[in-house]
Symmetry: D2
């Protein structure tokens, strides 16, 4: 069914195109990982080998799918962010989700022996993942989302409860809430277990003075329409960039302001070869 573009409108395949000009986040979750952890003796609550394998698979996904701007992982869960101008697969949800999930799974299984050389996989249980796509009309780095996710991910609260709790609170309250409820001060968090991992292309950092990445991205009122040659050179720059997994504080604006390519979608400057 590859020859005709719109056949699904006429037959039984229904359109699942995601709203244009929104950030697409494909989130994948390990299926039944409790059983897997038990069988292969993962250390609790975090196993370095397992997280390293997750990160390696995420980097491979991002290398295969250059449209992904950023990935963020915690535990057995990874979120892949596509820029709001992304047109990959005509923004069809099932195609985006299934491709990310399949690529992640393929590399996870393929790379398993590298990270767990002494315990080869067997048929049952196999590591598998499910996934879904969510659209966000605005940036993904605002404080509201952060606190929300902290409540959900670290506070063991479900998202409805978190939403209720946040109702009527203001920005000022939230840092307090993060600290008092979770004894957590993001600035001083120590490591990959607490901060999770963020995977991105590593261009030269920008001096954040007087620069606000969110504003710049917002001022792109119209989707960037590029000349063919610009598109080609962008593609090459993306392919040359090193993909890195770091354990940084993605809540502070500084992270985003120093890496404007994450929000603008324009590739940055490649670091000079040493």
């Amino acid at each position: 069914m590859a020859n005709s573009k719109y056949e699904y409108v006429r037959l039984f395949e229904q359109s699942d195109t995601l709203l244009p000009n929104t950030w697409i986040v494909v989130r994948i979750d390990g299926r039944g990982f409790t059983k897997l952890c038990a069988k292969f003796g993962f250390e609790k609550p975090n196993d370095k080998r397992a997280l390293d394998l997750m990160n390696a698979a995420a980097k491979a996904v991002m290398s295969d799918l250059p449209d992904i701007s950023l990935a963020y992982g915690v535990s057995d869960e990874y979120s892949f962010v596509f820029h709001k101008a992304c047109q990959l697969f005509e923004r069809r949800s099932s195609k985006l989700v299934s491709t990310v999930v399949s690529t992640f799974t393929a590399f996870y299984v393929h790379l398993w022996p590298t990270f767990f050389p002494e315990t080869p996989l067997t048929s049952s249980p196999m590591p598998t993942f499910d996934g879904r796509a969510v659209c966000y009309p605005s940036h993904i780095n605002n404080l509201y989302n952060t606190t929300f996710w902290a409540l959900v991910q670290k506070g063991g609260m479900d998202s409805v409860a978190a939403t209720d709790l946040l109702k009527g609170t203001f920005s000022a309250d939230k840092n307090e809430m993060l600290f008092s409820k979770f004894h957590m001060n993001y600035n001083n968090e120590p490591d990959m277990f607490k901060k999770g991992s963020v995977v991105f292309r590593d261009y030269e950092l920008v001096d954040p003075k007087g620069y606000n990445a969110a504003e710049v991205a917002d001022s792109q009122a119209e989707p960037p329409t590029l000349s063919k040659s610009k598109e080609e050179s962008d593609k090459k720059r993306r392919a040359k960039a090193r993909i890195t997994a770091e354990h940084l504080d993605i809540i502070k604006d500084d992270f985003w302001d120093r890496r404007p390519w994450l929000l603008t979608g324009q590739p940055g400057t490649l670091p000079k070869q040493l």
Copy 2:
């Protein structure tokens, strides 16, 4: 986000529940398999090892997900059929698609060395698959669909052209069309390359005399509501059934009438142990 059932209604995750009482078909397709076939020297147009690996992965998927009634594969494509009464994952499209795609991919990569012992996988290209879910309000074994798919799959016609061609034709014309256009007589087709593979649970065959599986399934006006104990015993029977991959003619009613469990969703009789 597993604790609360309806959070997606309130937040950004939008509902993608599939219409109740319809057959769900999750179809997966190999991504960029031309490159993969070239690299690993697949025989053209069909490679027995590659098809056997596809079938092995499909059987593993079906074993992991007992809600699947039937799977049908041709080339680098496989379709998994869920009964119209299926409630797995509350019929959420992204969850069904991603789980099938991930499980298939995991087994395909894991089983690769069994079928291609001399050419181990490398990082690029990795075998990956995309997928989508399609709902069908009526049975999947009617002649219309068959001819349609023959036109598409074997006639190299896209589905819009196929639909146009079929307009105004009647059942009588269709067998003729199958034969004259494609020199194909399903009854005499020789092998897995022509017929594709069908994967199903292998209960005792039923005498098709005076039995019409489609009618029986239709007469189930209401979705089967089972007692807990019946549900449990059904589950056990399904787990005990052997999952088999055959190369049968799924177009003739005989295939369906002898295997009523495929359309009714009720497990059949386990064959006696020899």
Copy 3:
């Protein structure tokens, strides 16, 4: 935005095409009718003038939109049924719903003075309606639905409770349930207040002996593809048919078997002129 068929895929308008080969029911409900009833002194619990106005508006809708097979009304609510083969507005949900709601509202307001000559409408409150489209993969005349709707509409039960109650019951129990819970024997129900109104095109009745309309409709495995001349003559026959509002028992098969055009979608025989 009328010139290009698929622009909504590319821009912000998202597809809302309803699944092919399913029955589409557009249900409309009066908005804030309690206030309206109070202001214009409707008799409780049923006002003949108000129901007659509803029926007159429904007949006008059906006359304007020949694709509607049947309409069914109770209180301030009306359901309009489109045949599963219907292609009107390419089955776009918002277009179908808004057209039905707007046409119904226009006639309701326009015909108001005919039914309420002494109490002209004023700006507040104006009679308005909201609506939605629901797809059903199978016939709409089966017992399950009937009992379900009885529980909801007459038993004052919400639909979740009704679904729960019906779980585990079998066809035999249902007639009993209808009678014992609601002291209702459909065969002997007296009038428009109890049975509601059903609006349809009035062709010559068929002898139901040995005829099962549901089966005939089911056997139409493929959507009826008509020659242009057949389509034209069908259209004329539909336009000539009288549209009638009756208070009949739509639960018994007899209603449907004598009026096969309701399920097959083929116009019946026009009654001889007297």
Copy 4:
């Protein structure tokens, strides 16, 4: 089906909730107005009475549905804008569309004799409208949209062609394009026929110096969560505001900067009584 909130998830009614935090535009179009115009002798290409009737109906809709921030009408078409934080009807598309369409139709038919006293409506053709909802993740007042709509509405271009034409152009080119292609300079446009009508609540204008409404609205990173008493007082202020229809230039930022309530969703200051 009013008692239970989520029954549609479990039964056949499928969720059509619109993406949170996006601007909802419900656009309605006259159905078959060519026939209507001919029958009632509308002046071409614009009939003042017909436009006045459209505006009167739009004002009535906005008065009935205080969640609407702004409405914009041209010819037989009207667009109603709901603020991105709007929660009316839980943002269900069919409910929003059908309510707007029904209310508009009811007032259009009801007010007809006021604007066309000498030509009363008859049953055929009745004025009816269809509608649809579209979500926009960003503001609706940017230049891109404006030029786009000018190309479509005034240039007689379909939206796909317009999109293509705009590709590769930059902001600077667009004002030029507006002028050269359409001999149109918005600043000097004369009247309701050219500019269309914009309907909004008329609070005290704000001094636009150093004020950018779009930025302010953007900085509302989280949806405004209001105390009950604030909500009540907002509601009262909205109810007291005069709803006006003007023929203003909505393209220039000045229109928006002087009326910040249109983008922020917070009611403005009521003008002093004279």
